[in-house]
Amino acid sequence: MPEVLLEGRDLVKHYPVTRGILQRTVGWVRAVDGVSFKVEQGKTLAIVGESGAGKSTVAKALLLLERLTSGSILYHGEDLYKFSPARLKAEYRPKVSTVQQNPYSSMNPRMRIKDVVGESMFVNTKLPRKQVYDKVAELLSKVGLGSEALDRYPHEFSGGQRQRIVVARSLSMDPSLVVLDEPVSALDVSIRAQIMNLLKDLQVERNLSYIVIAHNLATVRYMSHSVMIMYLGQVVEIGETETLFENPLHPYTRALISASQLTLPEEGEDTTTKQIILTGEMPSPLNPPSGCRFHTRCAEASEQCSKEIPEMRTVGTQQVMCHHYK
C-alpha cells in the first residue's frame, strides 16, 4: 500500500458576491462544496469536470494560492493550515509545484531559459550560480532539450518545447507532487502524445505524484490511476481509472464519457442516436439546484432527486453521489 501523500478533507470554498458602494455581501458563489480525496505517492489523481465545476479552485487551494472557507488539507497526515509560514516555506512549498495550461503565458518573456528554470533554486537555495545552471542543463536534458537552450529566450521555442521547459521548471526543487492544470490541451495532437509520454516517464523515474486537471477524458484515462469527476463544486463520482471507465455509475459520468467517445457510425446509422446528449447547461454555482445538483440535466432524475441531497455511497471500489445506488 503506497503512502498517502496529500489528502483533502471536506474542502469548501465560497466566494462572496458583493454589491453597492458598501460592498455588501449579497450571496456566495459555492465554487467548491465538500470535496474529499487522497493522493498516493507515485500515483496520479485526475480531476475532471467542465468549466465552473471547481476543479481549478481545488488546485489553487492545494497550491495555497487560495485560502479555503473550511475543510483541511493533510500533507503526510498533518494539517497544512497549522504549519507556520516558515515551515510551509521549508517543507511544503518546494515539494509541490505546478504546470499551467498555456506555455505561452507561464514564462517571463524577458528571462533566459536558464533563469526561468533556475529561478526557484535561486530563491530557495544558496547554491552558487554555476551549480544552479548545471542543474538546469541536467533538467533540460531530462525533458529532451539540449544545453544550447540555456541562453535562449522563451519566444524562440515552439509550444511543445515550451511545455517541456515548464515541466523542467516544475521539477527544479525535486518536488513530490506536481499539479498539472490542463498540461496538454493547448498543444497540437502530435505534440500532446510526446508530452504525455514524457510526464509518465518522469513519474516512474522520480516516484512523483500528479494531480492532473483535464476535461479530455481520453487524456485522463491514459495518464491517471484514479479519477474524480466534479460537477458544480461537488464530487459526483470517484474511483480507480480502469473500473470507472469500464463501469461508470453516475449519469453525469456516463454522459461525459459518451461525449468524448470516438464513435464511428456504422453504414447508414445516425451518430446522434448512440450518444447521450445532455440538455441544458451547467446551472450557476451562485444558486445551485436543490437536492442533487445534477437533477436539472439528468435523464433519470426522479422526484427524490430534486428534494434530497444524495449521499456519497460506496459501490465496489467506486464512490458515487446518486440516489439510484442504494
Partner: protein
C-alpha cells in the same frame, strides 16, 4: 448524386513577409456537395484556417494573397468577382463560424440587431419582416425563447449560447456553403456534443454544404462525411470518414490517429510523432512529412510524391502507396 456546391481547384495562398514568401496553402483541390460535410483536419500552422479565409476572400491583404487556383461556388468562380460583388456573396452564399464566439460578437449590440444586420444587408425585406426572419434563424439553432433572447446582449449568454448566436448569424441568409473553423474548441465536452448535433439538424433543414475545420479526430468521426488531412499546406490524404479511420494509408494520417489516446482501451504508451511540423518558409525537399516519417525512403527525400487515387474518393500522396 447531389450537386456540387463548392469546388476548389489547385488553390495557392501565400503570405508575403519581410522574411520571404510563406506558402500557407500550396495547391489544394476539393469539392463539397449540397448537404455534405467535408472535414479539414490538421495541426496548427498547416494552413487549414487560411484555406477557410481564402474561400471567403477575407485574407489580410496585401500580405496574404491567393496567387493561383479557382474557387467555384455554384459554378461561378468567385476569384473573378470584384470586391463589391464578393461582398454580396459573403453571408448570402458562403458564411463562416469562428472559434471564439466572444470575439465574433459585438458586445455593445443586442443579438437581435447583430443577426438582423446580415438579414437587412442581403435580403430585400420590409422592416417588419426582419424580426421574424431573425427569430427563425434563432429557432434553426435551437435557441430557447428566441423572442426574449433577441433583446439580450452577448454577456448575458453562456458560451454555448453565444456560439449558437454566431451560428444563427452565419445561417440567417440560408447560405449554400458554411465554413466552420474550430467552432467547438472553446466549448465544454457536454456542450460540444450538443452543438455538434445541431449541425446535422441544420443540414437536414437547409441542405447546406459544410466545410468543417478542426484538429480533433473525435469531432471528425462524429459529423464529417469526408475528410482531407492537411500537412504543411497540402492534403496528404482525402477519403470518406469511415475509410480514414478503418484503413488510413498515409503515414501521417496513421500516426495522427494512433497518437490520440483511446477511451475504450488503455495503451501503456502512446505512439508519438517525433519532431515538429516544418517551417513553411523552409520546407524540406521531397515529401514534406519525410523528416518525421518512420517509413521514409530515399525517393521521399528527393521527389515530391504524386497524388494517387486508390478509389473514386480516396486519394493519397505517398511514395509507399502503389
Amino acid at each position: 448524386m447531389s450537386e456540387v456546391v463548392i469546388q476548389v481547384e489547385n488553390l495557392h495562398t501565400s503570405f508575403f513577409t519581410r522574411m520571404g514568401e510563406v506558402k500557407a496553402v500550396d495547391g489544394i483541390s476539393f469539392s463539397v456537395n449540397a448537404g455534405e460535410t467535408f472535414g479539414i483536419v490538421g495541426e496548427s500552422g498547416c494552413g487549414k484556417s487560411v484555406t477557410g479565409l481564402s474561400l471567403l476572400r477575407l485574407l489580410p491583404e496585401p500580405a496574404g494573397q491567393i496567387i493561383a487556383g479557382k474557387i467555384f461556388i455554384e459554378g461561378k468562380n468567385i476569384l473573378e468577382l470584384t470586391k463589391k460583388q464578393m461582398r454580396a456573396y459573403r453571408g448570402k452564399m458562403i458564411s463562416m463560424i469562428l472559434q471564439d464566439p466572444l470575439q465574433s460578437l459585438n458586445p455593445c449590440y443586442m443579438i437581435g440587431d447583430q443577426i438582423g444586420e446580415s438579414v437587412r444587408l442581403h435580403q430585400d425585406l420590409p422592416e417588419n419582416m426582419v424580426e421574424p426572419e431573425v427569430i427563425s434563424a434563432l429557432r434553426l439553432l435551437r435557441i430557447p425563447a428566441p423572442e426574449v433572447r433577441l433583446k439580450e446582449y452577448p454577456f448575458q449568454l453562456s458560451g454555448g449560447m453565444r456560439q449558437r448566436v454566431v451560428g444563427a448569424i452565419a445561417m440567417s441568409c440560408r447560405p449554400r456553403v458554411l465554413i466552420a473553423d474550430e467552432p467547438t474548441t472553446a466549448l465544454d465536452a457536454t456542450i460540444q456534443a450538443q452543438y455538434l448535433s445541431l449541425f446535422d439538424d441544420i443540414q437536414q433543414k437547409t441542405n447546406v454544404a459544410i466545410i468543417f475545420i478542426t484538429h480533433d479526430f473525435g469531432v471528425v468521426a462524429r459529423i464529417c462525411d469526408r475528410v482531407g488531412v492537411m500537412y504543411a499546406g497540402r492534403f496528404v490524404e482525402t477519403a470518406p470518414t469511415r475509410e480514414i479511420f478503418k484503413s488510413p494509408k498515409h503515414p501521417y494520417t496513421q500516426a495522427l490517429i494512433s497518437s490520440v489516446p483511446k477511451l475504450d482501451k488503455k495503451d501503456e504508451r502512446l505512439f508519438s510523432i517525433e519532431g515538429q511540423p516544418p517551417s513553411m518558409m523552409r520546407l524540406p525537399p521531397g515529401c514534406r512529412f519525410g523528416p518525421r516519417c518512420n517509413l521514409c525512403m530515399d525517393i521521399c527525400k528527393e521527389q515530391e510524391p504524386p497524388e494517387i487515387k486508390i478509389s473514386d474518393n480516396h486519394s493519397v500522396s505517398c511514395w509507399r502507396v502503389k
